[in-house]
């Protein structure tokens, strides 16, 4: 994709024809990556502010309100504070791994942004294995979290790291299984194709959420399991501040701590974006087809719709965090292995049977065909 972009760029600007093609391709890749990373970091910063505001609202207090209008620049102040803080590496820590761990978590979380289908044609790299790429690259996060816990040489951090590893590995299974119905319906692993398969029928009844009862359940199973994979309350056992101080990143300070913090918000976005793309129709909205709009407007409109849906799911996660109490470790594992895993397998079987019996048609499509 990047290469074809480079070729069309060379054709448009003849001055560039002397430059080797792969340098231009590489430059475009770097630029696209920079744009995606800038977006991701700005989003993460603002999300920390929104989280604090939501927390404030739910606890009947004001929340940050000093820096900038209604405190919206709070995240910049926090960022500067974290940058200027002293960087402490514990004396007995494994220095190399201690330094490496936050980068692994950060990379694993933000590399997933590459395949998020932000809108019509707005995807950094439309991999044909999109969903599996996300699951593969986010496995770096587990490794990073475990290394952080182990290399700190601190019992709380070690416990937090082990809990996190057990939790993420367990919940990876229901997450993957709950996403597969969308893959089955679209017949493709590419997120862009999955979103396209949900168009038509007034823009809302084409969504996989309403395709059949199994996919409806699948969305909720995915959201719950994904919540656990991002280590957020009610599944934040790895951090559980009342028992583990703050879990695997207890020894981190300054900018290294910020990496963990930002990665958590990056994870939330990726998880919500996957839910939006696989079940909530991506950029499709009722009565307006973004792909039929003039080029630039279509792109911008679809971007707005996609971000609207995704960020709503992110705010829902914050809402859940400040409302529900935390599960116990044994309850957490029971939820994963005794309920979520069997249910998602059952769902997968149900969706497969449905597609086989009704030739891939969903309930809305069948109702629509009744009326000709």
């Amino acid at each position: 994709m990047m290469e074809s972009l480079a070729i069309s760029l060379v054709n448009a600007v003849p001055v560039l024809s002397g430059v080797p093609l792969w340098t231009i391709t590489l430059l475009i890749m770097v630029m696209v990556a920079a744009v995606v990373l800038t977006f991701a970091l700005t989003y993460s910063g603002l999300a920390t502010y929104v989280e604090r505001k939501v927390a404030g609202d739910i606890q009947a207090r004001v929340g940050p309100n000093r820096v900038g209008p209604v405190g919206i620049l709070q995240f910049l102040a926090d960022g500067i504070k974290l940058l200027l803080k002293e960087d402490i590496i514990p004396a007995k820590a494994d220095r190399f791994l201690f330094v490496l761990a936050p980068y692994l978590v950060f990379v694993g979380s933000f590399a997933a942004f590459v395949v998020v289908p932000f809108g019509v044609g707005l995807i950094a790299s439309d991999l044909n294995i999109g969903i599996y790429y996300v699951m593969a690259i986010t496995s770096l996060v587990v490794v990073g979290v475990m290394l952080a816990g182990w290399s700190s040489n601190n019992k709380w951090a070690l416990l937090g790291g082990m809990r996190a590893a057990a939790q993420i590995v367990s919940y990876e299974i229901p997450v993957g299984m709950a996403l597969l119905p969308a893959v089955l319906i679209a017949g493709s692993l590419s997120l862009q194709d999955i979103v396209r398969s949900q168009g038509g029928l007034f823009g809302i009844f084409g969504w996989n959420l309403f395709h059949n009862p199994f996919t409806f359940l699948s969305f909720f199973l995915y959201y719950v399991a994904a919540l656990a994979e991002t280590n957020r309350t009610p599944f934040d056992i790895p951090e559980a501040e009342s028992e583990l101080v703050s879990g695997y990143h207890v020894e981190y300070s300054g900018i290294r701590f910020a990496f963990f913090f930002l990665a958590e918000y990056g994870d939330m976005f990726v998880v919500s974006a996957l839910a939006t793309a696989c079940f909530l129709g991506g950029w499709h909205v009722p009565f307006l087809d973004a792909e039929a709009l003039p080029a630039l407007w279509g792109n911008l409109f679809s971007l707005g719709v996609f971000l609207g849906k995704t960020l709503s799911l992110v705010v829902l996660m914050m809402w859940i965090r400040w409302t529900l109490p935390r599960l116990r470790v044994d309850q957490l594992m029971r939820v994963a292995w005794k309920y979520l895993v069997p249910l998602t397998f059952f769902n997968l079987l149900g969706v497969s049977l449905w597609l086989l019996l009704f030739h891939g048609k969903g309930i809305p499509q069948m109702i629509a065909s009744l009326f000709g």
Partner: protein, 162 residues
């Protein structure tokens, strides 16, 4: 471009594998194993087998090695109590087996010196699925039975009362 990348990732994979067996601390070994697995996944990508690359990372780097690290963390042997391994008979045997394996791999590589150029969909989900459920169905099913036996065995060993 592709041959250069092949050499780079191949070198990382081999170098990582050597580090896995030579490091003293098990944690370093596990991490180098992850590096090797990622490099092999990159080699898969170079051969257009994107699906295999993703599965490689999900299953091995994301699950198997994570369990290794989990065990290493649970046991958590202090640095000064790690056993110092010497060159024993087993090691000589291991080196001999490794040599035999390299010889075998070289022979196979010679036989398929010019592999077919992969097309865009030769490594796709559809192609892999079709191959698994037609040509290699028996091997596929036998492997799944083997895995099932391993799972039952693990439970039988770990649980005192069933």
């Amino acid at each position: 471009m592709e041959p250069i990348l092949f050499i780079v990732f191949g070198a990382i994979a081999v170098g990582g594998a050597i580090m896995v067996v030579t490091r003293r601390h098990p944690m370093s070994s596990a991490l180098f194993l992850i590096l090797t697995l990622f490099a092999v996944a990159a080699l898969f990508v170079l051969r257009q087998a994107h699906f295999l690359a993703a599965i490689q990372v999900i299953v091995y780097a994301g699950a198997v090695v994570v369990l290794f690290i989990f065990v290493i963390m649970l046991i958590n042997v202090p640095e000064n109590k790690l056993p110092l391994e010497r060159l024993t008979g087993f090691r000589f045997l291991g080196i001999m087996v490794a040599g035999l394996f390299i010889l075998e791999a070289a022979l196979v590589a010679r036989r398929f010196a010019t592999p077919g150029t992969p097309t865009a969909d030769s490594g796709s989900v559809e192609a892999v699925g079709r191959a698994l459920f037609t040509d290699y169905l028996l091997a596929f099913e036998v492997t799944s039975v083997l895995l099932l036996a391993a799972v039952i065995g693990a439970i039988a060993l770990a649980k005192k009362r069933i």
